[in-house]
Amino acid sequence: MDILQTVKIAFRGILDNKLRSFLTMLGIIIGVTSVIALVSIGQGATAKVTEQIQSLGSNLLTVNIMGRGANTTLRYDEAMEFANSPNISAVAPVITGNITVKHANKNSSVQVQGTNGDFLTVRNYQLSKGRFIAPTDVNMRQKVVVLGSQIAEDLFGLVDPVGQEIKMGGQTFKVIGILESTSSMMGSNEEEIYIPITVAERLLQTRGVRVMYIQASSQDTVTLATNEISSKLSRIFKDNPDSDFQSFRVFDQTQMLDTINQATGTLTMMLGGIAAISLLVGGIGIMNIMLVSVTERTREIGIRKALGARKRDVMSQFLIESLVISGIGGVIGIVTGFLLSRGIAQLMNMGVKTTYSVVAVAFGFSMLVGVFFGIYPANKASNLKPIEALRYE
C-alpha cells in the first residue's frame, strides 16, 4: 500500500474524531509551544547580554581590587603607571563611596565615583549634554560633576542641570555634563555621579582605587596586558601565588562572556528541559488515546485484515495517525510558540530569539514522541488476530 494512501487513511481517522484528536494534539501543542517560547526567551537573553558585553569592546579589562588590609591599597598615581605600558591604551581607575547630594531643597543618597577622563571611552559611555571630566579637572582638583540621567532628573526636574551647582559633603560642585543612559547586565549608569578622582580622594577620604577599567591597546594584547597587570599588582600587594587569597582579580570580556554564556546556556537548557517534559506528557496522551482508538476500532482492524491488510499496513496506519497528530501539533506549537515569545517580548520588553535549530529540535522531538508513543498501540493493533478482531463487539 502506498504511503500517500496511508496518510490519507490516517487523516480520515483524525478527522472522524475531531475533538478527541484536537485534545490529544493539545498536549503536543503546549509542549512544543513552551519549548519554543522558553528557549527563545533564554536565547534572546543570551544574545542581548552578549551584545552588551561586546559593545563594551572586547579589549576591556576590569580589575577589581579587594586589597590586603587597610594599608595596601592602590593609589591613583600607581594605577596610572599602567598607562605607560605599550599593551595598554587607557586606564580609568575608580574610587567609590556613598554620599548625599543636595540641590535646593532636594537631596539624594548616591554612589559617587571618582575617576579620570578616560573613563568615558573605556566604558563606552555617551554624554547627552555637556562634557565629561577632563585631565585638567583631575590635575587642578576642579569641583565638577557629571550626572547620570535619573539623578539629574531627580534633582533638577525639567531645568537644564548643566552649569547648575549641587552640594556634596559641604562642598559645591558644578554640573558639567549629563550621561546618556545605558543599562546593561553590568548595571545602569542612570543613578551614578562622577567627579574627578583627585577630588574624590579628599571628599571620600580614601586613596584606595576599588576598580580599574583598562583598555588594552588591541585585542591581541589583552593577554599580555592581563599578565602585566597581574604581576605588577601581585608585587604591590605581595600576594602569595600559592595562596587562594587574592587581593585583586582581573576579568577580560571573553572570560566574562564565557561565564555569562555558560550561565544563560544552562538556564536555556533548563527551561527547554522543563518544557520538554510537558512534551513527553503530551506523548503519553497520544499513547493513551491511540490505545483507546485501537480498542474502539478493533472491528475495523478485523475488517481491514479480512480484506487483505497486512500487519505492516495496520501498523503504519496507526503509526502515521499518531505521527500526523504529533506533527500537526508540532507545527501549531511552533507557530504559537513563536507568537507567544514575541508577545512576551513586547509585554516585558525583552529580547527573544527563535533559532532554526530550536524549531527543528522541537519539531523533531515532537515527531519522535509521536513515533515512540505510537509504536506500542500500532503494534498492538497490527498483532490483533483477524478472527478475534472481527468478532469484537
Binding site: 480520515r12 472522524d16 481491514r304 480484506l307 487483505g308
Partner: protein, 227 residues
C-alpha cells in the same frame, strides 16, 4: 482441487474442558462449485468458514488451498490469499461506516497495491455491476440493508477473487433483499466463481448445488441438490 480439508480439528480450551468446534472435518471443494454449508448455530459452520477464509487456523489436520498447505504460510502470505483469492460477504455487512460505498469497495484494491484512477475505476465498475452505480458516495448508514450487502459483495468482487465466501449473507435482510442477494450470488456462480455459502436456513441452502450439513463439528450429510 481448490479447497481440501483433511481431518481438520479446531479445539477451543474453555477452562478445563476442550470444545471441539470442528471435530475431524474432511471436505473437498472443486473450482466453480456453488456449495452451501448448513447447520444450526453452534454447529461449527462459522469456524469452518473462518478457516476456509484463512482468518483462523486449524488446531489439527491440514487445510490445503490451491495445493498450498495453509499452516505453512506466514501472516503476510495469508493476507495475500484473503486479498486475492477470497471475497468475504458477512451477515452484518462489515462495511466501514466512516467511508463511502466507493471507498469501501476500494479498500481491498488499496491493500492489493492498486493505485489512483485504476483503483477508482475498478471500484466503480464493481459497484455498477451490483446495480449501485448511483450510490457511489453514500455512506453505509445512508443505504438500506440490501444495498449495504450489495456494497459488501462489490467489495468482495473488487480484486476479482475466484472464491466468494458468504456467511449468512441474507441473515440480516428482509425476504425481498435476501432474494436479490441470492440472485447476485447465482449470477456470480454462473460467471465461474466458486461460491461457498454458510447458512442455517435450508431454503437458502437449497438454492446452491451442493449441501454440506454440519452438526457438532462433524459433517453429517453431503448431498447434491437436485433442482
Amino acid at each position: 482441487m481448490l479447497i481440501s480439508f483433511d481431518s481438520v480439528f479446531k479445539i477451543y480450551k474453555m477452562g478445563d474442558t476442550a470444545v471441539h468446534a470442528l471435530d475431524g472435518i474432511t471436505l473437498e471443494i472443486e473450482k466453480g462449485e456453488f456449495i452451501a454449508i448448513v447447520g444450526p448455530s453452534g454447529s461449527g459452520k462459522s469456524t469452518l468458514m473462518n478457516i476456509i477464509g484463512c482468518l483462523d487456523t486449524p488446531t489439527e489436520g491440514t487445510y490445503t488451498f490451491e495445493d498450498k498447505d495453509i499452516s505453512k504460510l506466514n501472516d503476510n502470505q495469508l493476507a495475500l490469499i484473503r486479498n486475492r483469492h477470497i471475497g468475504f460477504v458477512f451477515q452484518s455487512f462489515n462495511l466501514l461506516s466512516k467511508l463511502t460505498a466507493l471507498e469501501n469497495v476500494e479498500l481491498p484494491l488499496t491493500y492489493g497495491g492498486k493505485k489512483g484512477l485504476a483503483r477508482r475505476n475498478r471500484a466503480m465498475e464493481t459497484l455498477n455491476s451490483v446495480g449501485l452505480g448511483d450510490r457511489l458516495h453514500h455512506r453505509p448508514t445512508e443505504l438500506s440493508g440490501g444495498q449495504q450487502q450489495r456494497v459488501a459483495i462489490a467489495r468482495a468482487l473488487s480484486t476479482d477473487p475466484p472464491i466468494i465466501l458468504a456467511d449468512e449473507p441474507t441473515g440480516n435482510l428482509d425476504t425481498r433483499s435476501g432474494r436479490e442477494i441470492m440472485e447476485i450470488l447465482k449470477e456470480l456462480h454462473g460467471n465461474g466463481k466458486t461460491i461457498i455459502l454458510i447458512t442455517h436456513d435450508i431454503n437458502i441452502a437449497n438454492q446452491a448445488e451442493r449441501n454440506v450439513h454440519i452438526q457438532d463439528g462433524k459433517i453429517v450429510k453431503d448431498v447434491k441438490v437436485v433442482g
